[in-house]
Symmetry: C2
Amino acid sequence: MSARGRPRSFDRTEALEKAMEVFWQQGFEGSSMSDLTTAMGINSPSLYAAFGSKEALYLEAVRHFSETAAAGTFRALMEAPTLREGLAAMLHASISCSTQEGRPQGCMIALGATHCAPENERVRLELKEMRRILRDTLRLKFETAVADGLLPPDLDPGSLATYFATLVHGISIQARDGATREELKAVVVHALASFDRATRVNDPAGSA
Amino acid sequence: MSARGRPRSFDRTEALEKAMEVFWQQGFEGSSMSDLTTAMGINSPSLYAAFGSKEALYLEAVRHFSETAAAGTFRALMEAPTLREGLAAMLHASISCSTQEGRPQGCMIALGATHCAPENERVRLELKEMRRILRDTLRLKFETAVADGLLPPDLDPGSLATYFATLVHGISIQARDGATREELKAVVVHALASFDRATRVNDPAGSA
DNA sequence: TCATTTCTGTGTTGATCGATACATAAATGC
DNA sequence: GCATTTATGTATCGATCAACACAGAAATGA
C-alpha cells in the first residue's frame, strides 16, 4: 500500500477507538481537540493528517461505534428465528451496550447530537439519519411479517416501529443517568407484553 | 421592592423565556453568550447582572421550562381520576410539549446535558436529578396504588416506573428527530396495553 | 440640587477553541 | 548517496469563548 514516506507511529484503529470513547462520554461539542489528542496519545497535526478534522473524526468514530459496540443490537434483530425473539434480543443487546462496565453509559448514537449549535447541524443530521435507520428497519420487519401472514393484517407496522425505537432510545437516557442492567431488563418484559397484545387477533377480552 | 437606582430596561421573564428557547434548541454547550444576548435583546453585562452566569441562566431556564412547558406533564399524572388515565394523560402531555409548532422539538429536560464536557458536570447532574424526579414520582404512584389495593400486590412498582420513564424520554428523542404528534400517539396505545397486562391478576391466557 | 444607587453600552480581558506553518525525522525508490 | 515522500513535534494562527472594567445614563431619597 503506502510504503513511501515516514510510517505512521501510532495505530490508526487504536487511536480511533480512544477518540470514540471520548466522544461517547462527552459528546461532539463537549470534546475538545485537547481532550482528543491527549486520549489518543498523538499531537494535533497527526490527528488532522489521519482523520481530516474534528467533525470527520467524530463521524468516523460513530461509524466505528455502530460496527462494533452497537453491531449486536442490529444483528440480534436480524438473526433471531422469530420476530418476537428478535425484538427481545435487540432490547437486551441495547441494554448490554448501554451498561458496559468501564465504558460510557448509554448508546453513542441514541444520545449523540440531539441538540447542538447551528454550525454543527451537519453532525446532528448525520446522527438523526443513523437513528432513523433503526425505526425503518423495525418497520420493514413488521411489514414483512404482516405480508408473510405471521402478524394480523390490520396491524400498523409504523406504529410498532415507533414504539420500539422509542424504547431503545429511552433506554440510553435511563442508562446514562445510572439505571442498572437489571432495572432496564424489566422494560423488555413490558415491551413484549405490548407486542403480544398488538399481534393478537380477535381477542375482545384482551382489553379488559 | 428595588425602587432605588436605574430601572432595568428589559423584562426579566421575557428575557429568560428567550434564553430558554435558545438553550432548548441548541443545548447548554451549543449556546454561546453571543447567541443568548442576541436572542434576549440585551448586552452581556446586563445578562450577568440579572442572571449571574451562563450556567446559572441555563439552570434558571430549565426550571422555568419545568414550571411552564413541562408543567402539564406532571399535572396530568397527578390530577387524573385514575392511575391509568393519569399515565395516558402524562404521555399525551409529553408528546404535546415535545411537538409544539414554532418551538424546539423534544423536551428540554429529557434531552438536556445527557453528555457534556467534564467542566460542565454540575449541569449534567442537575438535569439528571430532574429526570430522576419523574421516575420517582411514577414509582410512588404505583406503590400507592398497590398499597390501596388498586393494583395487584405482586406488581413491581420500580419496574413499571422505569418502563414509563423510558417511554417519556424516548418520545423526546423521536420528536427531536422529526416524529409527528400522530406517530407518537401510537406509543401511548402500546404503553397502556403493557400497563393493562401488568396490572391484570391471574390471567393465564394473557400471555398466549 | 445633589449624593447615592443601579443599570446600560462600549470595549476588552485572558483563555481556549479548532486548525496549520514550518522545520525536522524517517521511511522508500533509484 | 540522494531525491522524494510522508509523518512528527513545536509553536502558533486568527477566531471565539465566557466574563468583566469602566464610564456614562437614569432612577431614587434627602
